[in-house]
C-alpha cells in the first residue's frame, strides 16, 4: 500500500534551523550549510527553490529534538530512529524536519563514527517535499541509514529518486533527465569546512567588487535604506546614510528566491502602492514581499508595457508618486496604483535637466530629493525641481560609500587610506588585506 501522494503547490519554500544540536562537534554554520546543500540536492533537479529565513514562518522548520517531542514520533536515544519529516500539506507541521539530538551527528567522518547529517538530511527533505520510502537498494529514500554519501558539493541523487521527484514536480529548466549533472560552481554557496568546527565567517570571494571604484548596476531606496547593487553583491546604508558594512553582501543570500546564476540586476525600486520591491534583469522582473520573492515570478517586463530588452533604471518620484523607467535615451512614466503606463510614453531625454541622458539607476531619498547615478558620479535634484542642483555631479563613492579621494581612485589605495582614517600607521610596502593589524575589523551580515 502506497500512501497518497502529497506535494507542495508553491515552488518557493522557506526553511530555517530552529534548534541546533546541543552537544555536537558540528558548529551551527556547518549544520546550516549541510541543510542548504541537502535541500539543494532536490532543488538542483526540480523547479523548487529553497531559501533560508530567520522568522518563525518557515515552511520547513528544522529541529534537533530528544525523546518525546510532542509530534507522535518520539526519538529513542542513540541508534534506532534517527530523524523524520512531515509530508507537504496544509497542516502547520507540513515540511517540518526533526533530527534526534541523541545521535552523534557527523560530517566528513567515517561510517564507524556517528551518523552522517548530510545523508540523513537529504533523505528527510525527500519526505518534506513529498517522497515516501522505497525499497530500492540504491535509493536515498530507503528507510535504513546506509552511511555517508560523500561530498555534499558533489552528491548526485540516484536515478530512482530523480524519477520519483520529477513525477511530482517536473524537471527543472536546464536539467536534462538523461544527463548526469556536471559539478556545479561551488563558490556561490555556503562554505563547508574541511573538518567540523565552529566557523562563523565566510571567506570573501576574489571577484567581490570594490565599493570605492564601482559604477553600480542599480541603486534603490528600500524601506528607507539605500541599496547599491553591483554584480552579485550589494551594499546597504541605513536611513541616516551609515554604511552597514564595508564588505558587500551576496544578493541571493539576502533576496531569497532570485536565481543563483543571476550575475547582476538592471534596476530595483520599491513600489509606493504596496511597498513590494521589484527587481529587473533583462526581459524579466521579480516582485519581493520583504526579502522573499513572491510566487509566480519572474514575469516578463511586458507586464509594465515595457518593450523587450529590459531597462537601465527605475525610480518612484516623490513629487507625483509616479514610477519612471529609463532605457538608453528613452523614459516611461508608469502609474503603480492603476498598474498601467501613462499615455504618451516613451519620451526622449529625461524630464530633468542637467542629468545624463543615459542612467545606471535613480532613487528617491528621505530628504525629498531624487538622486540619479551614472558611472562613478551622481546628481541630486531637489524635491519638485526639474533641474540638477548646482555643484553636481559628485562622487558616489565619496558621498555614499565612505571612500576618501584616494580610495575612490582605486582599491589599491584603500589600506593606506583607511589606515590613515582610523589612525593606524601603515608601513611602506605593507599589504594588509585583512586590516586586522590596523585594529580595524570588518563585519558582514547577510541575513
Amino acid at each position: 500500500t502506497t500512501p497518497a501522494l502529497t506535494k507542495w503547490n508553491k515552488r518557493n519554500l522557506s526553511w530555517r534551523v530552529r534548534t541546533f544540536p546541543r552537544d555536537s562537534s558540528l558548529g551551527r554554520d556547518t549544520v546550516r550549510a549541510l541543510m542548504y546543500y541537502a535541500l539543494k540536492v532536490w532543488s538542483d533537479i526540480t523547479p523548487l527553490n529553497f531559501h533560508e529565513v530567520a522568522g518563525s514562518n518557515a515552511d520547513i522548520q528544522i529541529d534537533f529534538s530528544k525523546a518525546d517531542h510532542n509530534d507522535g514520533y518520539p526519538f529513542d536515544g542513540p541508534g534506532g530512529t534517527v530523524a523524520h519529516a512531515f509530508f507537504p500539506g496544509d497542516h502547520h507541521t507540513a515540511g517540518d524536519t526533526h533530527f534526534d539530538d541523541d545521535e552523534a551527528w557527523t560530517f566528513r567522518s567515517s561510517d564507524a563514527h556517528g551518523t552522517d547529517l548530510f545523508a540523513v538530511a537529504v533523505h528527510e527533505f525527500g519526505h518534506a517535499i513529498g517522497l515516501t520510502h522505497i525499497s530500492a537498494i540504491q535509493s536515498i529514500m530507503r528507510p535504513y541509514y546506509q552511511g555517508p554519501v560523500g561530498d555534499p558539493l558533489k552528491y548526485d541523487l540516484p536515478y530512482e529518486d530523480k524519477v520519483r521527484i520529477w513525477q511530482l514536480y517536473g524537471v527543472r529548466e536546464s536539467v536534462s533527465p538523461t544527463a548526469k549533472p556536471e559539478a556545479t560552481e561551488t563558490d556561490n554557496h555556503p562554505f563547508l569546512p574541511e573538518l567540523p568546527d565552529n566557523r562563523t565567517t565566510v571567506p570573501l570571494r576574489k571577484d567581490v567588487p570594490h565599493r570605492c571604484n564601482a559604477n553600480f548596476d542599480a541603486v534603490a531606496q528600500i524601506r528607507g535604506e539605500a541599496f547599491f547593487f553591483k554584480g552579485k553583491y550589494f551594499w546597504r546604508l541605513t536611513r541616516d546614510r551609515h554604511l552597514v558594512s564595508l564588505q558587500p553582501a551576496q544578493i541571493h543570500r539576502f533576496w531569497r528566491g532570485l536565481p543563483l546564476h543571476l550575475d547582476s540586476v538592471d534596476a530595483v525600486y520599491e513600489r509606493t502602492s504596496d511597498h513590494k520591491i521589484v527587481f529587473f534583469k533583462g526581459d524579466r522582473y521579480w516582485v519581493f514581499k520583504d526579502n522573499n520573492v513572491e510566487e509566480g515570478y519572474p514575469r516578463p517586463v511586458s507586464d509594465f508595457s515595457l518593450p523587450p530588452g529590459g531597462i537601465d533604471a527605475a525610480f518612484s518620484w516623490a513629487h507625483n508618486d509616479k514610477t519612471y523607467f529609463f532605457k538608453d535615451h528613452l523614459y516611461w512614466r508608469y502609474d503603480d496604483h492603476a498598474r498601467r503606463m501613462d499615455p504618451g510614453y516613451p519620451a526622449e531625454s529625461p524630464l530633468w535637466r542637467g542629468i545624463p541622458s543615459i542612467l545606471d539607476d535613480a532613487m528617491r531619498w528621505s530628504d525629498g530629493a531624487s538622486y540619479f547615478f551614472r558611472g562613478k558620479d551622481y546628481w541630486k535634484v531637489l524635491d519638485s525641481e526639474l533641474e540638477a542642483a548646482p555643484g553636481y555631479p559628485q562622487s558616489t563613492a565619496k558621498d555614499w560609500l565612505v571612500c576618501s579621494d584616494l580610495q575612490a581612485d582605486g582599491p589599491e589605495n584603500e589600506v593606506r587610506a583607511e589606515g590613515a582614517r582610523t589612525g593606524a600607521r601603515s608601513r611602506p610596502g605593507q599589504h594588509d588585506e585583512s586590516r586586522s593589524d590596523s585594529g580595524y575589523e570588518v563585519c558582514s551580515c547577510t541575513s
Binding site: T2, G79, A85, S135
Partner: protein, 84 residues
Amino acid sequence: APAPRTEDLSLGVEWLSRFGYLPPPDPVTGQLQTQEELAKAIAAMQRFGGLEATGVLDEATLKLMKTPRCSLPDLAVPGARRKR
C-alpha cells in the same frame, strides 16, 4: 529454524506495527496477532529491506530491525485506510 526468543518477538511485533507492516494494536486483543499475519508482515518487511522473504524472524531480519533508520512508516498503516 529455532523459535525466536520472546523479547525478539516482542521487539519484532512492535517494530512491524510502528513501520506499517502490521495494523495498530486492536483495543480488545492488544498486540496479539495470528501467526499467519505475523509471517506475512515479516515477509513484507524482508522484501522491502532487500532480504529473502521467508516470513521467519531470523538473525538477519532482527539485525535489519536494529539498523538506524527514519521514523516514518514504510507502508501506509493498514488500519488507517479510508472507506470508499
